[in-house]
Symmetry: C2
Subunit: 292 residues, 2 copies
Amino acid sequence: SGAASIIGGKFTAGQIRQEVALAVSALTSKGLRPPGLAVVLVGERKDSATYVRNKKLACEEAGIVSFGTDLPDTATQQQVIDAVKAFADDPNVDGILVQLPLPDGMDERAVLSAVPIEKDVDGFDPLNLGMLATRGTEPLFVPCTAAGCLELLQRYDVPIRGKVAAVVGRSNIVGTPTAMLLQNAGATVTVVHSQTPDAKAVCANADIVVAACGVPEMVRGDWIKPGAAVIDVGINAKDDPTKKRGYRLVGDVAFDEAKEVAGAITPVPGGVGPMTIAMLLKNTLDARMRSS
Amino acid sequence: SGAASIIGGKFTAGQIRQEVALAVSALTSKGLRPPGLAVVLVGERKDSATYVRNKKLACEEAGIVSFGTDLPDTATQQQVIDAVKAFADDPNVDGILVQLPLPDGMDERAVLSAVPIEKDVDGFDPLNLGMLATRGTEPLFVPCTAAGCLELLQRYDVPIRGKVAAVVGRSNIVGTPTAMLLQNAGATVTVVHSQTPDAKAVCANADIVVAACGVPEMVRGDWIKPGAAVIDVGINAKDDPTKKRGYRLVGDVAFDEAKEVAGAITPVPGGVGPMTIAMLLKNTLDARMRSS
Ligand SMILES: NC(=O)C1=CN([C@@H]2O[C@H](COP(=O)(O)OP(=O)(O)OC[C@H]3O[C@@H](n4cnc5c(N)ncnc54)[C@H](OP(=O)(O)O)[C@@H]3O)[C@@H](O)[C@H]2O)C=CC1
Ligand SMILES: NC(=O)C1=CN([C@@H]2O[C@H](COP(=O)(O)OP(=O)(O)OC[C@H]3O[C@@H](n4cnc5c(N)ncnc54)[C@H](OP(=O)(O)O)[C@@H]3O)[C@@H](O)[C@H]2O)C=CC1
């Protein structure tokens, strides 16, 4: 009966950005250095350029100084690594991110490993994931999208401890860290992936469903337990001739169906998407606070 | 109808130990240095002393040179760390393990972090767990008990890819790495822990159950799906007046019940237990091969 409440990622992200901005101005008003975030962008992908621009705008708005190196498609792997290393040595830079994907043929792991863990605000260092998985240790940074999913559940008072959760997808940057965070918070987690025999049954049994599989609208209404919380990480373009640009954005959940069954659900766009950037600012602030 | 086949951990561990012994003698027959394993033992716990003695015997049998430092209960944390560091600097030592638990009040994490990752044959370094969790990277060492569970499933031809698995327990050294290994091998894994609402239902749905909760005989016969593979990590002493020593060892699975339902099951003792030491020897050999 269309009863699901909407988990407003845009609103919550705005709150977090404001919290970060306040903390930054508390620093600068004491004459202290503001946080700095550096982005290394390789090549001319339009979507990557848009992401980077949005990150820089968000930084500016929060008082975080942004740094950037743009390299052409033709850059060598060593040149990319050197760009990362220059920021690693720069005391005004607290966080470094390498915009992915890198051009074909470049070794992502080799480039990322040039980011020192204290500046790894994306949380992509395997040691960060290991510290997240190890009880009794804390990661320096949690990957931004995963952190955003948990932050939404927490700020919307969705109970996690003692609940059953399904995470659809097991990527290093979304599914896997989200599953770890949910388990650390006391959920019983099942991770669904491309070899899972009955993804629907796993989701239908869950109080919390996080969809991060990159398959447009894969999670249908009858995959959702009545009253469950649904976090949709997916961002997919779907043909839509009624739109001027010819497509619209849809998630990995069939929103119109799921909202009839779920207790709470994130929209796409305006759900997890804005949270990712907000958590990046938060991680950069955390890095700055640690450096002093 | 008592149909479960027995997964013979003792037998398989013997095979692995023989494989290691062969590889070691291939080294030494070429005049090369044999692998070396160092054990740091603090205090006088009887069970710990027994474990350490068994590890040293197994090393000897496989041609691995064993080193050891025994420190009294009264040793300071710094003295324990110094003992670890001495082995870290010793070129004849390929693997270092610190026998746990350490005496009360000692910071386990601080002591373990003195073990360099290239010699962390227990696989306890958070970076090892992180590399195990990260797709596209491989850990230097997998924690021995978890590696032993997977090795048993593989050597007994239990299919994993596309199957459903339940891991009962989420400790850093057993449950968590075992769940990661199963997921990496293509299983859909649910991790059960003390806040799980319905552990029985999770297990009853699984093709593979790994029990590592430390609760004697918690997993009952009616928790097992007919034909499932059951790996029992538990080692618990249960009062038994019919035994001379007054107790017998039981697992975390009610063996007599479960063997009537399961397709294959490990006994306790003689299941996972012997595999843990065998995998330690294997990890030490791997460390040696890398060092050359
Ligand atoms: N909101 C945001 O800020 C962000 C959104 N995204 C979006 O989130 C989604 C996931 O991104 P990402 O994690 O990077 O994606 P990846 O492509 O890296 O991972 C997708 C995962 O989903 C699994 N999967 C794929 N198809 C199926 C299927 N049919 N059934 C079950 N599981 C399946 C894959 O399984 P297997 O491992 O077996 O291959 C894989 O683990 C995408 O839509 C992406 O656009 C991503 C990052 C940030
Ligand atoms: N064969 C071998 O060589 C080895 C055997 N062992 C044996 O394996 C077992 C597990 O060892 P270890 O991993 O070190 O144990 P830990 O005590 O470190 O962890 C036990 C785990 O089981 C969970 N658990 C405890 N009680 C319950 C319950 N009632 N229901 C569901 N989950 C529960 C705990 O949950 P939570 O996290 O929520 O507290 C915890 O994650 C023990 O019996 C131990 O003796 C251990 C190492 C080697």
